[in-house]
């Protein structure tokens, strides 16, 4: 195994360049509007944070390797270098300064998918040894231990035992032929155990068979965040193998944005074939079950609350209406944030930023965008559907001395399930 090198990095960038990338670079006229959509620019005011600038090394590789003009320019010594200095300089822009939220891609007048290119350029930066420490360790844990936070099966089993003891709900493990296979994110195991309980209650009421796999309970995929497809593939394969071995119909991605992107959209392309099962986000499943009348809710949250759209779920995942239908069913005072839905502002911790300690400062600066959105609304509760958003929001709110609880939508729905009185009491 060769060590990281600049040459390797350039080659990996080169390998990522396809027709869409070439058309994007051919079309960019440097209008700079993408900066206005990027919270890492709007909150820092640093022109270097302009999204299209973050992929400048990739543009150079494209021009020099794949255009006749660029080759001619290189011949006469006009080509701009892509060297150690460039990798060092751009590393923080590519990782710390981008949450892969994709807002820039949606505003580009010529239609450039800039955030898609940042995802691609990370392949080169990681191969060149220019990935952030935090992400490398998370990825190492994800590959070697099975979870980026180092959560092992015993921890999950312990949580299942606690849950069964506390509530009497059953959590099936490795049940062959179940309809749903539920994935969890490490954060849900470590920080938000309410999620598992909510799932158990919902599945019980809906009367659906479900299971958790002992070999693939973890949904998050650090390989996607650090930008190493080969490792992302290893992580996805665990889920695919488990789901296909158990013969489940549907794999449910948890309340985690990039996990959904990894398993739903990137997975089949990483393993090179379509799945033999479906992948749905928990919100999609909840919406379906509600529409089918399989779960009913009662009572309303009266607190003034708003919903934070996770980028990977809404803008990049297309799940915008489902959470609103669910919220309106269980909350009487739901108000929209400014620019809701596909144009939401990122929590500032997506795309591996929250796993990268070096980016803590810029992350908090970028959080100011969310803060000002929340300041406008003066809500009592903030609902979201992504564990990573949730953690980032909680940290951000705390750092800003704001006392707003952040709640997962799935839990909130679960709390309002129509059940017999005693259970309801104990749950709330």
């Amino acid at each position: 195994m060769s060590k990281p090198s600049i040459e390797k990095g350039v080659n990996f960038i080169k390998g990522q360049i396809d027709a869409p990338v070439a058309s994007f670079f051919s079309s960019c006229i440097h209008c700079g509007l993408c900066a206005e959509a990027c919270l890492f620019y709007t909150e820092t005011g640093d022109p270097k944070q302009t999204p299209i600038n973050k992929v400048e090394p990739m543009r150079r590789v494209w021009e020099q390797e794949f255009t006749v003009l660029g080759k001619l320019k290189s011949m006469v010594g006009l080509g701009k270098p892509v060297d150690e200095k460039v990798f060092s300089e751009w590393e923080t822009l590519v990782y710390d300064g981008c949450s892969l939220c994709g807002r820039c891609s949606l505003v580009c007048p010529v239609g450039n998918d800039i955030s898609g290119m940042i995802r691609k350029i990370r392949e080169g930066f990681s191969a060149a040894g220019h990935a952030p420490e935090g992400l490398i360790s998370a990825t190492q844990r994800a590959v070697e231990i099975g979870s980026p936070m180092g959560v092992k099966l015993p921890a999950v089993k312990a949580q299942i035992r606690h849950l069964q003891a506390d509530t009497g709900l059953s959590v099936p493990l490795d049940q062959q032929g179940a309809e749903y296979m539920v994935l969890l994110s490490s954060m849900e195991i470590m920080n938000f155990p309410e999620y598992l309980e909510a799932i158990a209650r919902i599945m019980k009421q809906a009367g659906k068979s479900w299971t958790i796999s002992s070999t693939a309970f973890e949904a998050t995929n650090s390989g996607i965040q650090i930008g190493v497809s080969d490792l992302a593939k290893v992580i996805v394969e665990r889920v695919v193998d488990a789901a296909e071995a158990l013969g489940v119909k549907t794999v449910i991605s948890p309340e985690c944005g990039h996990a959904y992107t990894a398993i739903r959209w990137d997975g089949p392309n990483l393993i090179g074939r379509p799945y033999k099962f479906e992948v749905k986000h928990i919100l999609e499943v909840l919406d379906e079950l509600t529409v089918a009348g399989l779960i009913q809710t009662e009572g309303m949250e009266t607190a003034k609350l708003t919903y934070h759209d996770p980028c990977q779920i809404a803008r990049k995942g297309g799940i915008v209406e489902a959470p609103r239908r669910l919220l309106n069913q269980v909350a009487s005072n739901f108000i929209e944030m400014s620019e809701p839905g596909v144009m939401n502002w990122c929590c500032s911790g997506g795309g591996g930023v929250s796993a990268n300690e070096r980016a803590d400062e810029i992350k908090l600066t970028a959080f100011r965008r969310k803060k000002s959105q929340l300041d406008e609304l003066k809500v009592e509760t903030l609902v979201t559907a992504c564990a990573n958003c949730r953690l980032t929001l909680e940290e951000g709110l705390e750092a800003n001395g704001m006392d707003i609880p952040v709640v997962g939508l799935t839990e909130m729905v679960a709390e309002h399930l129509v059940e017999d009185g005693t259970q309801k009491e104990s749950a709330s």
Partner: protein, 219 residues
Amino acid sequence: MELNELLIWARGPAFNIALAIFVFGMLLRLFEILSLGRKEDLSAARGSGVAGGLRTILSRSLPRQTLFSREPLRIINGYLLHIGLFVVIFLYRPHIELFERLFGVSWMGLPTGVVDAVTAVTILSLFVALLIRIYNPVLRFISTPGDYLIWLVTLLPLVSGYMAYNHLLLGYTLMLTLHILSVELLLIVAPFTKLTHMFSFVLARWYQGYLAGRRGVES
């Protein structure tokens, strides 16, 4: 005497050369782009990629509300520039005559006075664009010499055309010659600069729209 010879050269051999370079260059760029290919997307589609691609080709012509409220001047100016260029290039009768010769189809033009006024607005919008490029910190940072080059190359035909029509500075014949030469410069430069976006934007929008369409995402 040299002046008329120059006009004849500009309308004849020079235009041929410029047109040839334009066609050659644009095709080369198209091949360069398409040759890099795109992997088939194996994920289960939620919506239609084709519909999404086509929709985005059109929908990206309108700005997002959020962006418009942040940068109204830049966006309105962009519209003025592009609509202006469209009107000036495609709705001026003498130009239509050229396209008719080229493609065999003709269409209605606008009164010359209207085109003249639109030209003035378009020139103005280019200068506003330049000021924004110089004074906006982002634009100043990301702008390359090429950006200023294409600004100039776009400005020259507008200004020379305007000045020829309005008899400013130089005689009409000389101005007309300069106008034609500046258009030829534009044709020559276009395939090798960011001006390729005049065609490639369709591809770019298509690719992103296709991706979004498959995911059932609004784009």
